[in-house]
């Protein structure tokens, strides 16, 4: 299943490992405006749990969706405030 979101930016952190996917996602989402969605592309399998945990524990962001295709983990994070 392919997610269809109106993503504003794409962050490519393929090959980067913990903690960089989360840390770079945070920096990238800071640059967005409220309501905009960031697409994060990662190859770190831990990013599924980590970005989910980060989004639930962080104010102002919301995890819209996650999916895996061809060893790439895609995360969609919306800035909510």
């Amino acid at each position: 299943m392919s997610a269809e979101f109106d993503t504003t930016e794409t962050l490519d952190v393929k090959s980067a490992s913990c903690p960089m996917p989360v840390v770079k996602t945070k920096s990238a989402i800071d640059e967005l405006a409220e309501g905009e969605i960031l697409e994060v592309l990662a190859t770190d399998s831990g990013s599924m749990s980590d970005i989910d945990g980060w989004a639930s524990g962080t104010e102002g962001v919301e995890l819209v969706d996650q999916e895996e295709a061809d060893d790439v983990y895609k995360h969609y994070v919306r800035k909510t405030e």
Partner: protein, 190 residues
């Protein structure tokens, strides 16, 4: 019909003035609580300076900063080397006394073995695209993590304040660290 009010319970009840004073007191406490910075805080004490032990404080500090925590890392003893611009690029890994390393202690103790095990680890780090200590430190600084270098150990190790990365706080001691820990939601000694 009696017009008496139940006096027994009225005696125990607080007076109007007492209640008013109590309300004032609670209002003051509420204002004070609301004024306090409500962001979460993490305080880490970093005491180790080997290549493997330099990672946990930096990974947790940068991740906590991504969660919006105010993070302070107080570096003392060998932990100072993580903040030392030159020495941080040359942190060593020893296999002596480390049963997880594939080298017996008797061999690990031979001259030059630390260099070999360190090279092995550095290669793994590079192959795995794991961030280097320098990258993690720079990233954490950019994210607003406060790195403190313990003044007593700076003097003890004969380091100079200019030896550390830009943005590192010097001139702090145990009392500063204790105060940070007391105000923190998470406290860790690494």
């Amino acid at each position: 019909m009696s017009t008496d009010t139940p006096d027994a319970s009225a005696d125990d009840a607080p007076s109007r003035a007492e209640l008013a004073a109590r309300v004032d007191e609670l209002e003051d406490a509420l204002t004070e609580a609301a004024d306090e910075d409500d962001s979460k805080k993490m305080s880490i004490i970093a005491t180790k300076g080997t290549l493997d032990m330099a990672y946990p404080p930096l990974i947790l500090a940068s991740t906590a900063a991504a969660f919006g925590y105010d993070v302070t890392v107080f570096h003392t003893f060998w932990g100072l080397d993580i903040l030392h611009e030159e020495r941080s690029k040359d942190l060593k890994l020893s296999s002596v006394g480390n049963p997880n390393m594939p080298v017996p202690n008797a061999v690990a103790a031979l001259p030059g073995m630390d260099r070999v095990t360190t090279k092995m680890m550095e290669k793994k780090i590079a192959d795995n695209d794991t961030a280097t200590i320098e990258e993690l430190l720079e990233t954490s600084l950019e994210m607003g993590v406060e790195f403190q270098a313990c003044q007593m150990t700076i003097d003890l190790m004969d380091y100079d304040e200019d030896d550390f990365y830009d943005g590192v706080t010097t001139g702090v001691g145990a009392a500063t660290a204790l105060q940070d820990m007391a105000n923190a939601d998470i406290q860790l000694l690494v």
